[in-house]
């Protein structure tokens, strides 16, 4: 048997509540994901597909209510396997009707205390996270160096001031900030966006986590800076052998870094498998129609139709409040035929294996 995955997410549900529409926002609706040790998993999806919320749920950083409702997240930590949302069923009462949740009663205050206790030994130490907009994520009133020293000490509280400083300097050099000696005492406001993102990466790595979650690490940066951040992550990945989960809407970033790819749509994973099978459209690979459509709407010469138009997916990105009772993508899909249509509209497809490590959620490929 193959070793247990580094992080395993099973049937995760995270809902929010729209007080305007008095309905649930099904942000994460039964997500199954796994990432093996040393591997990079890229999660692609459009806005509202639930990719960031999935990772925030894993980190216990969901603030809005009701939040995480059910599921199981297992991390293989340095000290063995840990459940990251333990005993969730003790805090939540769910009322189901027709396979969907209609009412939730959750003891959110106790749950938050409970999850904070659980995550205290995980955040920073086992899993680190870097965010989009690094300028906002760094504390503007403390120097970059001090913030990294803090992370070094989080990992090893017995570290002396001097050696923690040395380690912090090492990480600044490691992320290739030029002139690290001077940047050490700089405030985040004095650094450019690209520099800030490097500092963020240094901070995230300084506590020596085994898993790094990068949430849109290049979004909002200039193209040339993006390229250099991607390159940095690439180098760190090979040099440190760290497990990485990379969230992005930018498929070129995902394809440059990922070993495995998960495609999310409307709060669900619709396809999960090796990067080469998903990101290169080949005729013999049974891809999800959404993946194919998404790839062909990237502005690129080969996606231009004879009339000068780009290939596009009709319709709007779903808001995950009114979820269809069948497949989530059915309204925008053009792959099904008349025979399949009733099935696609009325029944939810499952995520099934096409090959041993490639899973797709589509009625085209299952009975």
């Amino acid at each position: 048997m193959s070793p247990a995955p580094h992080l395993l997410i099973e049937d995760l549900h995270t809902y929010f509540y729209s007080s305007e529409r008095h309905a649930f926002i099904h942000s994460v609706d039964g997500v199954d994901l796994s990432v093996a040790k040393g591997e990079t998993l890229g999660i692609v999806g459009e806005s509202g597909s639930g990719k960031s919320i999935t990772m925030l749920s894993v980190m216990g950083l969901i603030q809005a209510n009701p939040g995480v409702l059910k599921g199981r997240v297992t991390l293989q930590s340095k000290g063995g396997s840990v459940d990251l949302i333990p005993q969730i069923e003790d805090y939540v009462e769910l009322e189901n009707k027709d396979q969907s949740i209609v009412s939730v009663k959750k003891d959110t205050v106790s749950w938050r205390k409970h999850i904070e206790r659980t995550m205290k030994s995980i955040r920073g130490k086992e899993i680190s996270m870097i965010f989009q907009n690094p300028k906002a994520a760094l504390n503007p009133f403390t120097t970059v160096g001090k913030q990294i020293v803090e992370m070094v000490r989080l990992h090893n509280p017995s570290e002396t001031e001097k050696s923690a400083r040395e380690k912090a300097m090492y990480w600044l050099e490691r992320v290739k900030i030029d002139d690290p000696v001077n940047r050490f005492d700089a405030f985040p406001g004095d650094l450019s966006g690209g520099m800030c993102q490097r500092a963020m990466v240094a901070m995230a790595l300084a506590s020596e986590p085994s898993l790094l979650i990068a949430d849109e690490p290049t979004t909002g940066l200039d193209a040339t800076i993006q390229a250099s951040i991607v390159q940095l992550l690439q180098e760190l990945k090979t040099d440190l052998g760290i497990t990485m989960i990379l969230i992005s809407h930018d498929i070129s970033v995902i394809s440059a870094l990922s070993d495995k790819v998960a495609v999310m749509y409307g709060g669900q994973v619709v396809e999960h498998g090796p990067a080469r099978d998903i990101l290169e459209v080949k005729d013999h690979v049974k891809n999800h129609p959404y993946t194919k459509a998404l790839l062909s709407s990237i502005p690129d010469e080969k996606n231009v139709l004879p009339n000068g138009h780009l290939k596009s997916i009709e319709g709007e990105v779903p808001d995950t409040i009114d979820v269809p009772c069948g497949c989530r993508f059915v309204e925008r899909c053009n792959a099904y035929d008349a025979g399949l249509k009733t099935k696609c509209v009325n029944a939810r497809p499952r995520l099934v294996n096409i090959t041993p490590d490639h899973r797709v959620r589509c009625w085209l490929y299952q009975e």
Partner: protein, 302 residues
């Protein structure tokens, strides 16, 4: 606010389609709705009472002394709220007392809103030198203790409540100017104003329709209710101190003051009744402002 431990969420999209006032109110936090209803009741009672007083439709002549019934208790001789130390009908005096702050309060609000939004628009929309000028003006007004300013006015002219309310209105100007300016800066940041200019919408239409009417009306209404509460507070405190409305014209402030002389004798009612009215009325205006803020500006709890 109460801290709720258990949150219950129910999927009920039908609620959104609900028509009618009551159904719509259900969408907001229950406390806000209670505040809103209470505040509206207070406001309508005040307005109604103002007109009762203005047309002299009072149960008794407020200045007629009934020496037979001094310090009469509640519900005696037809005096619903009793009488004061001179046998004057308390209810009539309380209703007439509204005259003391109603129009002056409106004056204060009008001054604050008009000058405040004008300065806010100048600073936010035209910016540059206007902004610098308005900021200096605001700082100047802010750094002046309000009470000292009022006492100066009282000393320079005479203790006329309209003068005092002008000062109250004027000292509120910086507050409103800053609110409007920040709102405009926020809209500017979103290219909202530039896009209107680019489309060729004339400046007055942008300022009055897009900025003030569509985007600041909620702020202005809220500030008006809060301003009225403040005006009442100012008037009553000054009348209590003897700088505001003078006897024998009744005002809630001077009624509390006059009644308080008899507190030690155990006759607490003639001063407590107007004090209660002050409390409940000001609370009404403030809670209304608060509720409107939450409802109109869409800040919902949960």
């Amino acid at each position: 606010m109460l801290v709720r431990s258990h949150y219950v969420h129910v999927n009920d999209p039908q609620l959104t389609e609900a028509k009618g006032l009551l159904a719509k109110l259900r969408r907001y936090d229950r406390l806000d709705v209670i505040y809103l209803v209470y505040g509206l009741m207070v406001v309508s009672a005040v307005v109604l009472s103002y007109f009762l007083g203005a047309f002299n439709l009072l149960p008794f002549d407020p200045e007629e002394m009934d020496l037979e019934a001094m310090m009469a208790p509640v519900f005696s001789n037809g005096h619903i709220l009793g009488t004061d130390f001179m046998g004057r009908d308390l209810l009539s005096r309380l209703i007439l007392g509204i005259q003391a702050y109603f129009l002056p309060g409106l004056l204060a609000i009008t001054i604050a809103l008009t000058i405040g939004s004008t300065l806010g628009v100048l600073a936010g929309y035209y910016g540059r030198r206007w902004d610098t000028g308005v900021t200096y003006f605001n700082n100047l007004l802010d750094s002046f203790p309000r009470l000292v300013l009022i006492l100066l006015v009282v000393a320079a002219f005479k203790p006329n409540i309209y003068y005092i309310m002008m000062v109250v209105g004027l000292t509120n100007v910086p507050n409103i100017a800053a609110l409007i300016k920040n709102k405009i800066l926020f809209l500017k940041q979103k290219n909202f104003i530039e896009s209107a200019i680019a489309l060729g919408i004339p400046a007055p239409a942008i300022i009055f329709r897009h900025i003030l009417w569509y985007n600041c009306r909620a702020v202005l209404v809220i500030q008006a209710t809060l301003g009225m509460g403040e005006a009442i507070l100012m008037e009553t405190s000054l009348s209590y101190l003897g700088f505001g409305v003078q006897e024998p014209t009744p005002s809630w402030g001077n009624m509390v003051q006059a009644g308080s002389n008899y507190l030690l004798q155990g006759d607490f009612w003639p001063s407590t009744a107007p004090a209660l009215f002050i409390l409940l009325t000001i609370l009404g205006f403030y809670l209304l402002g608060d509720a409107l803020n939450n409802i109109l500006e869409g800040k919902k709890s949960i």
